[in-house]
Chain length 248, copies 2
Amino acid sequence: MSDPVTAALLVIGDELLSGRTKDKNIGYIAEYLTAIGIDLREVRVVPDIEGEIVAAIQALKGRYAYLFTTGGIGPTHDDITADCVAKACGVTIDIDPRAVAMLRERYAEGDLNEARLRMARIPAGADLIENPISKAPGFRIGNVIVMAGVPSIMQAMLDNVAPTLRTGVKMQVVTLDAGGLPEGLYGTALGEVAKAHPGVSIGSYPSFSQGNFRNQIVLRARDATILAAAEADVMALLARLRSDSVPI
Amino acid sequence: MSDPVTAALLVIGDELLSGRTKDKNIGYIAEYLTAIGIDLREVRVVPDIEGEIVAAIQALKGRYAYLFTTGGIGPTHDDITADCVAKACGVTIDIDPRAVAMLRERYAEGDLNEARLRMARIPAGADLIENPISKAPGFRIGNVIVMAGVPSIMQAMLDNVAPTLRTGVKMQVVTLDAGGLPEGLYGTALGEVAKAHPGVSIGSYPSFSQGNFRNQIVLRARDATILAAAEADVMALLARLRSDSVPI
């Protein structure tokens, strides 16, 4: 079985740290990468400060197969992601004629002013990622994939870049409803099942609404056989506890 | 003026990185801390892996005035946050009689089994944070504040711990609607305004819906006078551009 393909996500923007904007990209990208067989292993959110962005890119791009970034590639002075990526990758950055050609699909020659041309600044050696919505491209340089922060544009860019990515064997997932059993009743026994199936990641997830907890047990593995064995043990555990338990 | 009080947030849980659960805590905590005068400077999301959690706690607690964590303090085997915090802080961890007393408010003596007692494992020297919903407490040790992942419980814990925190001068915020002007038209001039007001953080935030961009310019500063001066310059800039611009 091939090794897992890993990724990190770097979310860039003061507005997310101040709470002004509520991020909608982390959950989307997490679900998307899982579905195509890439394991998202870490997410960081950093402000629009060059030193912070460069340091995070350098820390993450060496550690995972891919680093995705969102945000900071627009036309205003606080859009500094492209410059930070160039710096972190040790390459130059300049206005890229391919990116200018894309912008020309949207803007007449005379409207391509200094600010808009900022969106054509691309690190040397990068491949462009098309943006069907507002034309200003994302890009990929080495294992770093730079996308917009606006969710609809980010999603279109992710669709465009995904077919070019190496992917691993997809994680298979089984979700079991604990059927009214509290976590505290199955916690210890579930831990023993988890120990007995080291190739399966087993988590227990409570959610709380309208005064009640609802617990789900999630099993994840790349191999269907070992997943099924663990599932059978968890099912047996839940059945045993349900028959033992008095209503709580 | 006092120095800003800074914070980081560490979000713990495989389920967020797989996309199974969509985080609702980052935006809430960001907005909450901003409102009470604490600057959230960085967020990380890590999986339920001891080495990752310990490394992130150690990296973040030394860098910011406070480190908040969410997730991983329930009764199942994948709830390892308390042990990781103890390890990162170099202290022992054991069942804490104060936490057991809190759990007894919910569970009869005979129901306090091994799994539930996991929720009473508290690093030595920590102060407890009450949990009015399900009783299992959060805790604070040094500058590390450990909270539940379930949003309603996390929110109650944050309310309980907030009055004990040092806060700084609150950030004041002005949001200006760009009134139909595209970012590319004001980008360069706005950058000049930003340069002229180094004490003010100025950002431009596009949102895109139903085929249209709507841009907002956000100015942030702790001093009302310097904020007002920057606001006046941005207002003048927008007025000038609006009178210049033809409909786009």
